[in-house]
């Protein structure tokens, strides 16, 4: 099965590998936030519904909620962000991932944007 990447209107990306979703914020989001100084990660084992507050990203400008875009259980968090929150700026789409969720309802992905649609959204914002 091919890996797929989905996007939300809250500027999160979701990399789907089987029933595991890796979640981060987009390059557009990190750029809008400015230098990230702290990421509060969820706890492994926590259960979230779609849209629940799962994480907080704090920059020199603002602090923002990161919502869990899918329902499920947190199976891994990116502890590298504890000591190097700037990974979110340097590599938002890769090393700067936030947490992984074992999805309980993969159909939630269906309504989400693909890369083309998200690029359109961002273009509309600039």
């Amino acid at each position: 099965m091919m890996d797929i990447i989905k996007y939300t209107e809250d500027h999160e990306w979701i990399l789907v590998e089987g029933d595991i979703a890796t979640i981060g914020i987009t390059d557009y989001a990190q750029n809008a936030l400015g230098d990230v100084v702290f990421v509060e990660l969820p706890e492994v084992g926590a259960n979230y519904g779609k849209g629940d507050d799962a994480s907080v990203v704090e920059s020199v400008k603002a602090a923002s909620e990161v919502y869990s875009p899918v329902s499920g259980e947190v199976v891994e968090v990116n502890t590298a962000l504890d000591d190097a929150p700037d990974l979110v700026n340097q590599s938002a789409m890769d090393d700067g991932w936030f947490f992984k969720v074992k999805m309980s309802d993969p159909s939630e992905l269906e309504d989400m944007m693909d890369e083309t649609a998200y690029d359109e959204l961002v273009k509309g914002l600039s």
Partner: protein
């Protein structure tokens, strides 16, 4: 600036905008019997000399703590505050400025708050402290809310020997939240039973246990086993200290495993002040710093590399995080914190230890004297500067009788516990209590009980 009062038309416009007939309709939630029915009955005016004479006469009806033998404690303690403290806090740079936090103009205030935080952290044995909260009781409420955020659990357990006023404030603060805050029944001076009940109450759902040391009956507690039990269950230990001078003599809450420490800081640098303004000290572990409520001052370097002070970690606060802020109280007891810091600096570590020892010695002396009175029983197994004693009659009556003889004998436990513990009296002795005070107390008490 001109004062422009509202006209009748202005008022009518505003009332119609919000859809109310009359101003009084805005007070419909206030019980009728609590509303003022007529203007307060006061004379229209009087000359300055008359007013002064009148109020001096009223003031003289008070029995001031500093004028008589004084053994009242139960959360507010009369200590000697050196004149230097009052002199320094009244400097205009400190006294007049309200929330003077802009670093460009407030390096003095910010440096004091930074040093205050350092003192609080050292005193409590914790890593970090904030720039103060209102008082110990609201601080206890904040500690429970913080523990619930940190653990993402809702069930907080308060010791029955936590000062009942603190419990009441916590109940008020959490009445309309979805936090599940429970209070265990008081075990009186039997602190082993209280600790056992607290340990037994902890389960996987528990966010924190809240315990006071010394407790409201004056008993000192070894909290290490409770800390262990809490941590095994993923719960935090919140330790409340109402007599902060005790930290000069007893093991710090941090050393005993506390995760959050709240103190009433009034004892150092601050007078009794009729019950307020007081000073909430609040300290925790480094790893919880993002969940700490209140202002935090930090040390940094300016563009030239020079040391400077700023407010820091502000994203926890209301002006940035709105409803997600760690607290809705976004001020502190700045002047009381300053007084605390100056007094503690004057004392130094050795001075604080000496002061604590002196308090304990005074209380030992008081205990010895009280134990010599037939019918009086000291209930404590351990204590710092306060005792719970049992009298052969209602302590409320004894306190009232002694007050007539200008001796303020202490706090009847029945006042705190809704008429339970009728015969128990809480008595405190700080460094201001003289041998003569103790003698006068004992003589009067013997007279009252014979």
């Amino acid at each position: 600036m001109r004062y422009l009062p509202l006209s009748e038309n202005d008022r009518r416009d505003m009332l119609s905008t919000i859809g109310v007939e009359a101003v009084n309709d805005l007070f419909c939630d206030v019980p009728k019997e609590a509303l003022l029915k007529a203007p307060v009955d006061l004379p229209e005016h009087a000359g300055e000399m008359d007013v002064e004479r009148y109020f001096n006469a009223l003031g003289n009806l008070n029995t001031a703590a500093g004028h008589v033998p004084f053994f009242v404690g139960a959360g507010a303690y009369k200590h000697h505050v050196p004149a230097t403290v009052d002199h320094l806090i009244q400097r205009g740079e400190f006294l007049t400025a309200y929330t003077p936090y802009q670093p460009e103009i407030s390096q003095g205030t910010l440096q004091v708050l930074f040093e205050f935080q350092t003192q609080v952290a050292q005193l409590t044995g914790m890593d970090v402290a904030n720039a103060s909260l209102y008082d110990g009781s609201t601080g206890t409420g904040e500690a429970i809310l913080m523990a619930n955020r940190v653990t993402r659990k809702k069930k907080a357990i308060m010791s029955g020997n936590l000062h009942p006023h603190y419990r009441d404030v916590v109940d008020t603060l959490t009445r309309f939240t979805d936090d599940d805050v429970r209070s265990l029944p008081s075990t009186g001076a039997d602190s082993a039973a209280d600790l056992a009940a607290l340990e037994a109450s902890i389960d996987g759902e528990t966010s924190c246990v809240v315990v006071q040391n010394p407790n409201v009956f004056g008993e000192l507690l070894d909290l290490r086993p409770l800390a262990e039990k809490a941590h095994e269950n993923g719960a935090l230990l919140v330790v409340v200290v109402t007599e902060v001078v005790s930290l000069g003599a007893v093991m710090s809450p941090g050393e005993m495993g506390a995760d959050i420490v709240v103190c009433e800081g009034q004892s150092i640098g601050n007078g009794l002040n009729f019950g307020g303004p007081y000073l909430g000290l609040f300290a925790t572990r480094q790893k919880f710093v993002r969940q700490l409520p209140g202002r935090i001052c930090g040390e940094t370097a300016d563009a030239d590399g020079k040391r400077g002070y700023v407010l820091t970690l502000s994203t926890r606060e209301q002006h940035i995080r709105r409803e997600k802020a760690t607290s809705n109280i976004c001020t502190n007891s700045g002047l009381c914190a300053l007084a605390f810091s100056i007094h503690l600096t004057l004392l130094g570590e050795a001075g604080l230890r000496k002061l604590a020892r002196l308090n304990h010695e005074r209380t030992l002396k008081l205990r010895g004297a009280l134990e010599g009175i037939p019918g009086v029983k000291v209930l404590n197994k351990s204590f710092f500067n306060e005792l719970a004693i049992e009298l052969p009659k209602a302590s409320e009556d004894v306190v009232n009788a002694l007050a007539q003889k200008n001796i303020l004998a202490g706090v009847p436990a029945s006042r705190l516990y809704n008429n339970a513990y009728t015969n128990i009296l809480l008595v405190a002795a700080t460094e201001v209590v003289t041998d003569g005070d103790i003698q006068a107390f004992v003589t009067a008490l013997e007279g009252e009980l014979s």
